[in-house]
C-alpha cells in the first residue's frame, strides 16, 4: 500500500472484499481478516465501508474489531515476531526469552522497532507446548527457541 492512498481508494478495495464475502453467514470476522491481510492492519477508512456494506453502524464495526487481539489499528513492522507467554512455555523459560527480545529490539509488547522493521507481539499458546518455548515469525512456527536461536532469527530479519 502506498502511503498516499486516499480514503476513496481504500474504500474501493475494502468494498471488493466485502462483496466477495457478504454471502457468508456472519461475514464480519472473515471480512476483517481479509482487510487486515490486504493492508496489514484495519485502516480507519475501512470501518465506514464495511459498516455500509453490512448495514451496521460504524461504531458497531469498530466495537467488534477492537474486541479481538488480532486486529491492529496501525501498520505493523515488516516482520512480526510472536512469542508465546502461556504456562507451558513459561515452564521452559519464555519469560527470560521475552525479556531478551524486548531488550534487543528496544520495544515492549505490541510495539514496533523505530526502524519499522519488527513488531513484537505476545501470544497465548501456539499449540506447540511440547516443544516449548515457542514463537512464530511472520507466520512460521518455531519450537524450542533459545536465546541464541532468537538472536539468529533477529539478525536474519535485520539483514
Amino acid at each position: 500500500m502506498s502511503a498516499t492512498e486516499t480514503t476513496e481508494e481504500i474504500s474501493v478495495r475494502v468494498g471488493t472484499i466485502c462483496d466477495g464475502l457478504a454471502g457468508l453467514e456472519g461475514p464480519l470476522l472473515p471480512i476483517l481478516h481479509e482487510v487486515q491481510e490486504e493492508f496489514g492492519f484495519i485502516p480507519e477508512g475501512a470501518l465506514q465501508t464495511i459498516a455500509k456494506k453490512l448495514n451496521l453502524s460504524r461504531a458497531e464495526v469498530h466495537g467488534v474489531a477492537s474486541f479481538y487481539h488480532d486486529f491492529r489499528e496501525e501498520k505493523p513492522g515488516r516482520h512480526v515476531i510472536k512469542i508465546c507467554r502461556a504456562e507451558a512455555c513459561q515452564s521452559m523459560g519464555a519469560d527470560d526469552l521475552s525479556d531478551h527480545a524486548k531488550r534487543k529490539l528496544k520495544v515492549d509488547w505490541s510495539e514496533t522497532t523505530s526502524d519499522q522493521n519488527v513488531t513484537l507481539e505476545p501470544v497465548f499458546c501456539l499449540g506447540l507446548c511440547a516443544c516449548a518455548p515457542a514463537a512464530m515469525v511472520d507466520g512460521k512456527v518455531i519450537g524450542r527457541v533459545s536465546k541464541d536461536r532468537l538472536d539468529r532469527i533477529l539478525s536474519e530479519v535485520e539483514s
Binding site: 470476522l29 487481539h69 504456562e87 497465548f124 499449540g127 516443544c131
Partner: protein
C-alpha cells in the same frame, strides 16, 4: 523401486525443522539418484523424537529421530532406505514404547496416513462409522453415542448424547453442527494434531452428528494461531466435496451435509461456546447468558450442537465398533479414552491416548519421564490456565473427571503442564489473574475488575505490604469471582490461584517477583 519416506507436516514437527529435513532428503536423494517418494504425514505425537522420519521397508515402517538436516547425509550413507542401523534409528514405529502402550481409538490413524488422502483414510477403516450411521435412524445414532458414555472433551464433560438429543428434538428447519476447535488452553494441542494429521475423522464425526440431529451445515471454528490446521482442514474439506463425502448426497445417500472453517481472532474467551457463537455471527465475543441453550437457540438463533473436536472425532469409532466397545474403556463415569497432552518442562512431551484412570504421577513420572531440565518436579497444572496446580502429594489422583473435581482440580481439555522446582508459584498465581484480566469478555464485574485487583493483591504480598491480610483478601476475591461470574473464565481462575496458595504457601512470602518487564 520407489521408497516411501514419511516426514511429518504437523506444525509441532515443522517448528522443530521437519520442512527443512524433508527438503534435504529430497535434494540428497536426487543427488544420489535414489528413487524416493516423500509423504508428509501427521505426527504420532512424540515430540522429543520430532522430526521423526519413517521409511517403508519390507520389514514395515521403521523410524529415525529426531532427525536434523545434518543427519541426512549420514542416513543415506548408512543405507536407511533399506532400514539400516544409524544413531537415530528407533526401530519399528509401532514398537516405540510410548506409542505401543497407548490405546488409540480417536487418534488411530494420526501419523499413519497422508492427512488429505481420502484413499488412505478409507484403506485404514475410515468412513465405516459413517456407513453404519447412514443405515440407522437418528434415534439409534443418538442412543449409541449416549450408551457409549462419551462426555464432552472440551472441558465441561457434558454427555454428548444428551446434547445431541436436545438438538434432534428441537423444532427448526435449519440446524447446525459447530465444532469448537478454539483450543486456547496452554498445554493442549490434541485438536491441532488431529486437524493436521487426520482431518477426515473430524469431517466424518461432524456428518454423523448432522445425521443424528438433522443438521445440514457444519462449521469448524478454530484459532488464528493455527494457520497450518486451517490450511489442512480446508484442503480435506475440498477433497471430501470432490469425492461426494460432503455435499447434497453424502456418499450417495439422501442426506445433505456441508461444512466450512471459520477463523477466530485471538480471543481466549471465544472458546466458550456462546461467545464462540457470537464471534461466528460477527459480534464481539461476549458470553451469552443461558438459557436459552445453544442446543435450542445457537448459531443464528437456530438449534446448534457445539462440540469439541475430540468429542466429534470420538464418534466414528463408536459408530464403527459399537457403544459397548467404547464404554468398556475407562473408570467410573469417565468412559472411553482421552488424549492426554503432556507438555512444559518434561522429558517426553507429547500426546498419549489412553483409557481414563492412570494416576497423575504415572503420567508425569513414568510416561513423561520427569522434567526436561532433570530437576525435581514441583508442580503440574492440569486443564489449562483455569486449571489447578497439583503438588507431588496429589500425584495419586486418578485421571477421571470426578476424582479431579474431588481434588479441587479439573481435567479440562486434558493438558498436563509440568514445572520443575525453579518455578515461583506466587508468580504463577499472579499470571492466572493477569491472564483473566487480559482475556475477560467484560460482561461481569468480578471477572473484569476482580482479576486486575487480584494481580495488585499478589504484588502487595510480594512487596511485603501486610501479606497475611492480603492473602485473606486474595481468598475472598477468589470466592467472589467463583460465585459472581457468568462463565468459567472468571469462575475458574480461582483454581490456579488458590491451588498455588494452598499447596505452595512457602512461595507466598514477600520476595521480588521476577515479572516480565511491563
Amino acid at each position: 523401486m520407489t521408497v516411501k519416506i514419511y516426514v511429518p507436516l504437523d506444525s509441532g514437527s515443522v517448528a522443530l525443522g521437519a520442512d527443512e529435513v524433508a527438503t534435504a532428503i529430497a535434494a540428497t536423494a536426487a543427488k544420489r539418484g535414489e528413487d524416493v517418494q516423500i509423504v508428509r504425514n501427521g505426527s504420532f505425537g512424540m515430540y522429543w523424537l520430532e522430526p521423526m522420519v519413517e521409511v517403508e521397508t519390507s520389514r514395515g515402517r521403521l523410524a529415525y529421530g529426531p532427525v536434523a538436516v545434518e543427519d541426512v547425509d549420514s542416513l543415506f550413507d548408512a543405507g536407511f532406505l533399506n532400514g539400516s542401523d544409524h544413531k537415530r534409528y528407533l526401530g519399528h514405529t509401532q514398537d516405540i514404547p510410548f506409542l505401543k502402550a497407548q490405546t488409540r481409538l480417536t487418534f488411530q490413524r494420526c501419523g499413519i496416513i497422508d492427512p488429505v488422502s481420502l484413499d488412505d483414510y478409507r484403506a485404514n477403516d475410515g468412513l465405516k462409522g459413517l456407513e453404519n450411521a447412514l443405515k440407522m435412524t437418528s434415534e439409534d445414532i443418538v442412543k449409541a453415542v449416549t450408551d457409549s458414555g462419551l462426555r464432552g472433551r472440551g472441558g465441561a464433560g457434558f454427555p454428548t448424547g444428551i446434547k445431541w438429543n436436545t438438538v434432534r428434538q428441537a423444532p427448526g428447519d435449519q440446524k447446525y453442527i459447530v465444532c469448537n476447535a478454539d483450543e486456547g488452553d496452554s498445554g493442549t494441542f490434541a485438536d491441532r494434531m488431529i486437524m493436521e494429521g487426520e482431518p477426515f475423522v473430524l469431517i466424518e464425526g461432524m456428518i454423523i452428528a448432522g445425521l443424528a440431529t438433522g443438521a445440514t451445515k457444519g462449521y469448524v471454528y478454530t484459532r488464528s494461531e493455527y494457520p497450518d490446521a486451517i490450511r489442512i482442514m480446508n484442503e480435506a474439506i475440498e477433497v471430501a466435496r470432490a469425492n461426494k463425502l460432503l455435499g447434497p448426497k453424502v456418499l450417495g445417500s439422501d442426506y445433505a451435509f456441508d461444512m466450512e472453517v471459520r477463523m477466530g481472532a485471538g480471543a481466549y474467551v471465544c472458546g466458550e461456546e456462546t461467545s464462540l457463537l457470537n464471534s461466528m455471527e460477527g459480534k464481539r465475543g461476549v458470553v451469552r447468558a443461558k438459557p436459552p441453550l445453544p442446543a435450542l437457540e445457537g448459531f443464528m438463533a437456530r438449534p446448534t450442537v457445539v462440540n469439541n473436536v475430540i468429542s466429534l472425532c470420538s464418534v466414528p469409532v463408536i459408530l464403527e465398533k459399537g457403544a459397548e466397545y467404547y464404554r468398556d474403556f475407562g473408570m467410573g463415569r469417565s468412559r472411553g479414552t482421552i488424549p492426554i497432552q503432556i507438555a512444559g518442562n518434561v522429558k517426553h512431551g507429547g500426546l498419549y491416548e489412553t483409557a481414563f484412570g492412570l494416576t497423575l504421577g504415572e503420567i508425569v513420572d513414568q510416561i513423561g519421564g520427569g522434567t526436561a531440565s532433570g530437576r525435581p518436579v514441583k508442580a503440574v497444572q492440569v486443564g489449562g490456565p483455569l486449571g489447578a496446580y497439583f503438588p507431588r502429594e496429589l500425584f495419586d489422583t486418578p485421571f477421571d473427571y470426578e476424582a479431579f473435581a474431588k481434588a479441587d482440580g479439573l481435567i479440562g481439555h486434558a493438558g498436563v503442564v509440568v514445572f520443575d522446582d525453579s518455578v515461583d508459584m506466587m508468580k504463577q498465581a499472579r499470571f492466572a489473574m493477569e491472564f483473566c484480566a487480559i482475556e475477560s469478555c467484560g460482561k461481569c464485574t468480578p471477572c473484569r475488575i476482580g482479576s486486575t485487583r487480584g494481580t495488585e493483591v499478589v504484588d502487595k504480598i510480594a512487596r511485603g505490604e501486610d501479606p497475611e491480610m492480603q492473602k485473606e483478601l486474595l481468598a475472598d476475591l477468589c470466592e467472589t469471582m467463583k460465585f459472581g461470574s457468568l462463565c468459567a473464565l472468571g469462575g475458574f481462575t480461582p483454581y490456579p490461584v488458590m491451588s498455588a496458595l494452598t499447596h505452595f504457601p512457602d512461595d507466598f512470602r514477600p520476595h521480588a517477583l521476577d515479572i516480565a518487564a511491563e
